[in-house]
């Protein structure tokens, strides 16, 4: 399963381009991150891939098949999405919500089988929520809701996941848990990530985005440099390779310290 995004441009109205000629690719088994400041277009790229928005120019290919030509149901068996909007104004149990992930695999009159129930239960176990299966989803905390949605996408059993800031609302334990999880189940992932250290820790490659344009791309070591982060985010940092993780570790410097260092 690999993804190619070719020359995508997108704008809401004619005037301002939200995305300007974006090219990116994700190879099988990779976890690729998109980072950038608020409003830089991270979510917009993802939405153009999972067909909520239609690019003005360019195309998206999943295994060389144009995503926009794919049947909606077929697309949902290949591409799992955790978006940012996860409220539901009706009373559903956690189990009901996770079971919705089985929908794309079901014919019109087909009902859920024991196999489906097993998949649902398994997905809930993976996010540590099996004890809440009969709970009303609306009564959960923000973090629990997020994990239920992740369980839903796991139950969908797609080879490719698109995650739009999947660890929003989560405490640090569950942030790590979610990334460990998607890293370990061997799926291919494209994720918009807010936290640069998390991106450094888990991503195989990173795309750095500013004002709808790609600034640079590559491994965390090449992308997450003091200069790049300074240019894009306008902050000072101290960056080193952490002795234990052997990954890039970023320390944000307050204005006062940054000046003395320079």
């Amino acid at each position: 399963m690999h993804l190619r995004v070719e020359n995508i441009s997108f704008s809401y109205q004619e005037e301002k381009k939200i995305l300007d000629n974006i090219n990116l690719h994700v190879e099988k088994g990779e976890l690729v991150g998109i980072i950038g400041p608020n409003g830089s277009g991270k979510s917009t790229i993802l939405k153009n891939i999972y067909r909520v928005l239609k690019p003005d120019e360019g195309a998206v290919f999943l295994d060389d098949e144009a995503v926009y030509q794919m049947h909606v149901k077929k697309a949902a068996t290949k591409l799992g999405v955790v978006g940012q909007e996860n409220s539901i104004p009706f009373d559903f149990t956690v189990g009901d919500i996770v079971a919705m992930g089985r929908g794309p695999h079901k014919g019109l009159l087909e009902s859920d089988t024991e196999e489906d129930q097993r998949i649902v239960m398994n997905a809930l176990k993976q996010v540590d929520l099996e004890h809440l299966i009969y709970q009303d989803y609306r009564q959960l905390s923000g973090g629990e809701k997020q994990r239920v949605i992740i369980a839903r996408v796991l139950a969908q059993q797609t080879d490719f996941l698109i995650l739009d800031e999947p660890t929003n609302h989560l405490d640090i334990h569950h942030q790590l848990q979610i990334f460990d999880l998607v890293k370990n189940i061997g799926v291919t992932v494209l994720a918009a990530i807010h936290d640069l250290n998390l991106a450094a820790l888990y991503c195989d490659r990173i795309y750095l985005l500013k004002d709808g344009k790609l600034v640079t791309a590559g491994t965390p070591e090449t992308v997450l440099t003091e200069k790049n982060i300074g240019d894009v985010f306008g902050i000072h940092t101290d960056i080193m390779i952490h002795p234990i993780t052997k990954k890039v570790s970023i320390t944000y410097l307050p204005e006062s310290l940054a000046e003395t260092e320079e």
Binding site: V72, N86, P89, D91, M100, P104, Y134, D136
Partner: protein
Amino acid sequence: MSERTHFQKSRDRLNMKLVITLLIFVSAISILLAIGIGPVSVPPKIVAAILGDRIPILTAILPKEWTELDAHIVMQLRLPRVLLGMIVGASLSVTGVAMQALVRNPLADPFILGVSSGASATATLGMLFGVFHFFGRYSLAISAFLGAAITIIIVYSISRVRGRINITQLLLTGVVTAMIMDAITKIITLHAPNALGLHNAAFWMSGSLAGAKWGYLQLPFIVMLVCIIVLMINYRSLNALLFGEETAGTLGINVNRMQKLLILIASLLAGVTIAVSGAIGFVGLIAPHITRLLIGSDHRRVLPVSAFLGGILVVWTDVVARIIVAPEELPIGLLTAIIGGPFFIWLLKRNTRF
């Protein structure tokens, strides 16, 4: 908390076969009792005997111990009326469910969003000018359907901002559209009272089952059955749609097609129902809400259960409408409004929590 969990657990394991059997039983009892109650009361035993007499095998066995008058009241007046009540109640309830899925809000109801008023307006127009006469005996139902469809499309598209329904805009648009449509109905009925016969302004705006005849039952029954079946087939899509358009799309739902289907079904159900009963408000709000309290929001369960509850609700409200000011009759729509209005306000207050 643990009690709640326990409740949910037992709810999740609800045996739907048992629930449906129970509902069929309650509906049958309701029909039997409701037939007997009215200005002239007929004991349930006699009602059962008269009904049983229509079943060929039983005719020979059962003793005939009722008068011709009883038989006439039961077969010609009450039975079609009660059955119509069941059909109208079920249709309105399912209309509510469909509209609530469409706008992702449990406050949607054909009456509150002006759909009933729209259907009444075009129905009166149709009757007066004979605009839809080429449709023959279904002209009234079809003109009401068109009004319902136009209103839903107007209200829906005005309150849809960037792919999301703005609930304030939705309710306000609904109220204003209802006012406009009611005004049109009033103007028409005031100016041509004779041409409209039984169907006067009061009928359209406060609803009534009083004119029920056997001939009125067929079309609403077929439409109700077809619409419920189509919705049942799509129950997964309805569930996913409650998450919003974006998420539903990622779960393999053709959102656009589903929304069009819901508009079509809600208009059909509302239009056909209103053509025979006028606007009976709030059923589409109350019945689905009680249903969700009892069995959750999964449409596979909500659709059949809310249909039965809607039917039972309308049958009993109609009984009250028949006897509360006897020998006069209260329009049933007034009663549902008196119960439903406060219910809506309670729901509105409660709903802001989520």
